[in-house]
Amino acid sequence: MSKYFLASLNSFFIVLFAYFVFLSIISWQESREFLGTGRLDIDIGSYLYLPLGAYAFCWVVFGKRGLPGQLLISILMSLYWELDSNIFIQFTFINVLGPIIAIAIFRFLQVYSFKDFKSETLLAILFLCIVLALLNSLSKFFVYFMTENQTTSAFNFLVTYLPGDIIGSFVFIIFATFLMKIFHLGNHQN
């Protein structure tokens, strides 16, 4: 029980940290009018969506023990963004389940095992980020454009979500793996 609680707590704070950095960068962009509008807007997304990498990282490091924490932070962030009720639950599930499905595809099809990020190569992590981004962007695109109240064009949506997901997740996973190596931290799945 305590293992579950600790893993969930760690996952919660790791993803919260990713959201914090992500929001700080967006507000910095907004204040400096750097790289476009930099608005905090679900329609547009961001070119550096760090939380996607954080969710994937937590799933690899903590496994199913960290899931409650990830689910909680995802729900809290959806509340923070004041999402509509019809896309609220779906975005929450995509955030949490997307990385699980992507990593499961890699493991089941015997491409990479992803038992630990430290033992994987940079290219393997990049490949994971691309598949993660494809899954995340496509599923959010389907959910978002099935509803009638969208205010942006489908092209603008995809053109920011896809590169943002790839770059953001790659940056976060590399940064987190680097920290794990420096502080000699290991996996907590077992």
Partner: protein
């Protein structure tokens, strides 16, 4: 001469499967059916004959976009879409090769699960790139997600079914045809 023959084979394989897909497909607002076999044919041609058959596949895709589309095609769009459809699998093959995820350039000792992985990611990337290109040009409005979902699942199911059936039954069918002395 051998490359020319392979290109012709690839062209015929892809084009016939396009005809089959169109004949049996449900042409809903677009050029795709929900089991788009041509995607699997393209993958199989690349796996069997290698990247040298790109011109043959490209030509078949150009024919598809010229004659089997419901939107009004212009030459630039046809060539761009055909190029995306042809080069996406090659890009993924190269990417899998350099990231040690599996060498699909050599068919010996290949893991069939890697081929399934290759089909999944290629279908996703291909659907995304094609529709990003088309969305920049054509206004789909509310149906964009529906159209893209059809394309994605059509390619995914078509690819998996075609490659599975071909790998399982191609050899027995070839042997029967040889026994009947057609070849």
């Amino acid at each position: 001469m051998n490359i020319l023959k392979n290109n012709l084979n690839a062209f015929l394989l892809v084009f016939v499967s396009i005809l089959v897909s169109v004949f049996f497909g449900t042409l809903i607002e677009n050029f795709k059916s929900l089991i788009f076999l041509a995607f699997g044919a393209k993958i199989l041609a690349l796996l069997i004959w290698g990247v040298y058959v790109i011109p043959g596949i490209f030509l078949a895709k150009v024919m598809q976009y010229l004659f089997f589309t419901n939107f009004d095609p212009n030459l630039e769009m046809v060539i761009s879409l055909a190029a995306i459809a042809t080069l996406t699998p090659v890009l993924m093959m190269v990417m899998m090769r350099i990231s040690n995820a599996g060498n699909l350039f050599i068919l010996d000792n290949i893991n069939f699960r890697h081929i399934i992985f290759f089909i999944i990611i290629t279908a996703m990337l291909s659907a995304l790139l094609k529709y990003m290109y088309m969305l920049s040009d054509i206004e789909f409005a509310h149906t964009a997600a529906v159209v893209m979902m059809e394309a994605l699942f059509g390619q995914l199911f078509g690819g998996l079914i075609f490659v599975y059936v071909a790998s399982k039954y191609a050899q027995p069918i070839y042997l029967i045809i040889r026994k009947l002395k057609f070849v």
